[in-house]
């Protein structure tokens, strides 16, 4: 049993400073983020969505370290703050793995810490991130994603109704849903001929620890080598369920994910606060859950995407801070404003991929903002963004910045009125699992256009 976890984390959640939640947010967190931002002179340059100033990245890291040491994490169940000293935080950060195995057998992949401008091929996490699908489309959709040879890692979609039972949280259906979905994930990958490919959002089906325990129980087919989902409540809060999940994942020695979503315009403020907060969230994952990797998807407070110019700056500078100052494995997750099957998604994806790859992030794409319609997924768009990631791997930050800037200009004026796009059945034939003619035609046309605009697809080796 992870006794140090109970002493160091649970103990502090029961004995740390006690305060009201609103006081934590308004009097501790919000002023401190502004204070460190000014102290370390962190300032957005909107003309540089992919910054290439190492001293800026290092300052963001130092600001995050001071911020997290001073602010900590608020436990909403105990009303206490879990705090660590700077030394304890850095010890936890440097105890994080530099690489880890995900999946089993021939489908296993080693995922590593990436450096700024890293020339190595990244693992491609091609995903239907945070999507819900209907039960009748679950296997066709998952199989369509997994039949793509580029797909190294995968996020399974959620199903809201299984065999006529509506899945809830913190009730008996959480156990039913989480265990059934886990078994469905396992069956889907076997049907697709990829029995060992890692599911990177394992245990996400239930909001409480019950869901994680149900998904991990013997018989579901999921193993410690999936990515098991934990994470805070935005901003910098946890509850006892999240701590209980962490205890279980640590005890089981499973691959532990920390999913974080700092909000632009919220308590962290602007892009500078989001950048600092994003790095501090990695430190939070290391101290609270001894994480294997962190997946971050900063989001705009109204539009819920992360392809705005200032969002990309925040994402990129924070990944550079992590890449340069820690051994941690970190994923950047794309959330576009435009939906599946639209032209604009390729430009959003290109701007994001250029920055993420040059800044030391591992890529994970695509999630869509703007309404939870079932079956709103697009394997071919995720594939296109993955190919962009491969094409721009190793590109310098300065070159990536120029290209990203030109792509952002192609869509930034349209973000307030997005086309939410199409459903799986519009884009694919669910019987043959093949893209429809017009879907394929758009993909090829866009690839040619992107090449002309500077994405060097000819660089892709494998």
């Amino acid at each position: 049993m992870p006794l140090d976890f109970y002493r160091d984390v649970v103990g502090r959640s029961r004995n740390g400073p006690i305060m009201r939640e609103n006081d934590f947010e308004m009097n501790i967190l919000a002023p401190k983020i502004r204070e460190v931002q000014e102290k370390y002179k962190i300032k957005l340059d909107p003309n540089t969505p992919v910054p290439f100033d190492d001293s800026l990245a290092d300052a963001v890291y130092q600001a995050a370290l001071e911020f997290y040491a001073e602010v900590g994490t608020y436990c909403i169940d105990t009303n206490r703050v879990i705090k660590f000293t700077k030394d304890e935080i850095e010890e936890a950060v440097w105890a994080s793995p530099r690489e880890a195995q995900f999946g089993e057998g021939l489908d296993a992949r080693i995922v590593s810490h990436r450096d700024v401008e890293d020339p190595r091929r990244p693992p491609l996490w091609i995903t239907a991130n945070a999507s819900t699908v209907t039960q009748d489309r679950f296997f066709p959709i998952v199989q369509t994603f997994l039949q793509e040879p580029l797909c190294d890692l995968y996020n399974c979609p959620h199903v809201q109704w299984i065999d006529g039972i509506e899945l809830g949280g913190n009730d008996p259906t959480e156990y039913f849903g989480a265990s059934r979905l886990a078994a469905m994930y396992d069956e889907a990958r076997r049907r697709a001929g990829r029995p060992g490919i890692a599911v990177m959002n394992a245990g996400v089906a239930g909001p409480t620890a019950m869901g994680a325990l149900a998904a991990a129980r013997p018989g579901t087919g999921l193993t410690r080598r999936e990515g098991w989902t934990g994470g805070p409540i935005s901003e910098f809060k946890v509850d006892n369920h999240r701590l209980a999940k962490a205890a279980f994942f640590i005890d089981w020695n499973a691959n532990r994910k920390w999913t974080v979503s700092p909000i632009l315009g919220g308590y962290l403020g602007g892009p500078e606060g989001v950048a600092i907060g994003n790095v501090a969230y990695h430190m939070q994952g290391a101290t609270l859950s001894k994480i294997t990797y962190c997946t971050s998807l900063p989001l705009h407070f109204v539009m819920s995407n992360n392809t705005h110019r200032m969002m990309l700056w925040a994402i990129n500078v924070s990944h550079q801070a992590i890449a340069r100052n820690t051994p941690m494995i970190s994923f950047a997750q794309l959330v576009t404003r435009f939906g599946p099957g639209t032209e604009t998604i390729a430009y959003e994806g290109a701007a994001w991929a250029l920055g993420a790859m040059a800044s030391g992030g591992n890529p994970s794409a695509i999630g869509f903002s703007g309404g939870g319609k079932a079956n709103r997924v697009s394997p071919i768009d995720a594939k296109l963004v993955a190919e962009i990631c491969l094409a721009v791997t190793g590109m310098s930050r300065e070159e990536a910045n120029g290209l990203a800037d030109s792509f952002i200009k192609m869509y930034e004026d349209k973000l307030s009125e997005p086309d939410l796009g199409y459903l799986y059945d519009d884009l694919y034939d669910p019987e043959t699992l093949k893209p429809r003619d017009e879907t394929l035609e758009r993909y090829h046309r866009q690839k040619i256009e992107l090449e002309k605009l500077g994405i060097p697809f000819g660089r892709i080796k494998s």
Partner: protein
């Protein structure tokens, strides 16, 4: 004099300074200024400035929340002067919260703060709230709208449960229900019988105003 004191009230709201707002609203009331002038020219005008700045990302949630609190201090002083005309100067009353089984609060807080900025009186229940809490509070506060947030597919069904409880208590016609959150959509709102759904916080405010106009017209 009138213009000067309204500017001081407005500045107090913009700066999130409840003492400044209290001082000058009290002074304005005692000098016999029309309460609707204090509301529109000072308090609401201040929050409108903050709303515009928030849209441009010049200020953020904490600053706007402080301004909303300062505005509320002033509103409580003006309220007795409005008497029966109180409702004429408010857009409406909203009880809002995140439903049971879900502890995500930022999206709901953003919407609540924007609603205050738009002139609504808002009672924020927080997170993880059972259907009866929404209904009991809506009755107690004589609300116009119940706002239900859910970020998780697993808690969406609680939005429907609130409407079912209203039906059971035969209170369905008394309140407008709005739903929101990442997994929701118009189809879901239609299915459960919610009058309003919005994809984002700006759309939520527009929808709440629309529902109130419909209610006042009927």
């Amino acid at each position: 004099m009138t213009e000067n004191i309204l500017t001081l009230i407005k500045d107090g709201v913009v700066n999130g300074d409840p003492e400044q707002v209290r001082k000058y609203v009290t002074e304005a009331v005692e000098s016999g200024m029309e309460p609707q002038d204090i509301l529109e020219g000072g308090l609401t005008a201040g929050l409108e400035v903050m709303g515009e700045r928030w849209n441009r990302l010049e200020v953020f949630l904490p600053e706007v929340m402080k301004s909303a609190k300062a505005m509320k201090v002033g509103f409580e002083i003006v309220k007795p002067q409005l008497g029966s005309k109180d409702s004429d100067f408010r857009m409406g009353t909203v009880v809002i919260g995140t439903v049971k089984g879900d502890v995500h609060d930022i999206g709901k807080t953003v919407v609540a703060t924007m609603l205050i900025g738009a002139g609504f009186e808002v009672f924020d229940l927080g997170v993880d709230q059972a259907p009866s809490m929404f209904v009991d509070t809506a009755i107690e506060k004589d609300a116009d709208i119940i706002g239900l947030s859910s970020l998780l597919t697993t808690s969406m069904a609680i939005q429907r449960d609130v409407i079912d409880l209203l039906d059971t208590l035969e209170l369905r016609d008394r309140f407008q229900v709005m739903v929101g959150g990442a997994p929701t959509n118009q189809e879901w709102a239609d299915t459960i019988g919610a009058q309003g759904w919005a994809a984002d916080a700006h759309a939520a405010v527009a929808k709440a105003k629309e529902l109130m106009e419909t209610k006042k017209a009927s």
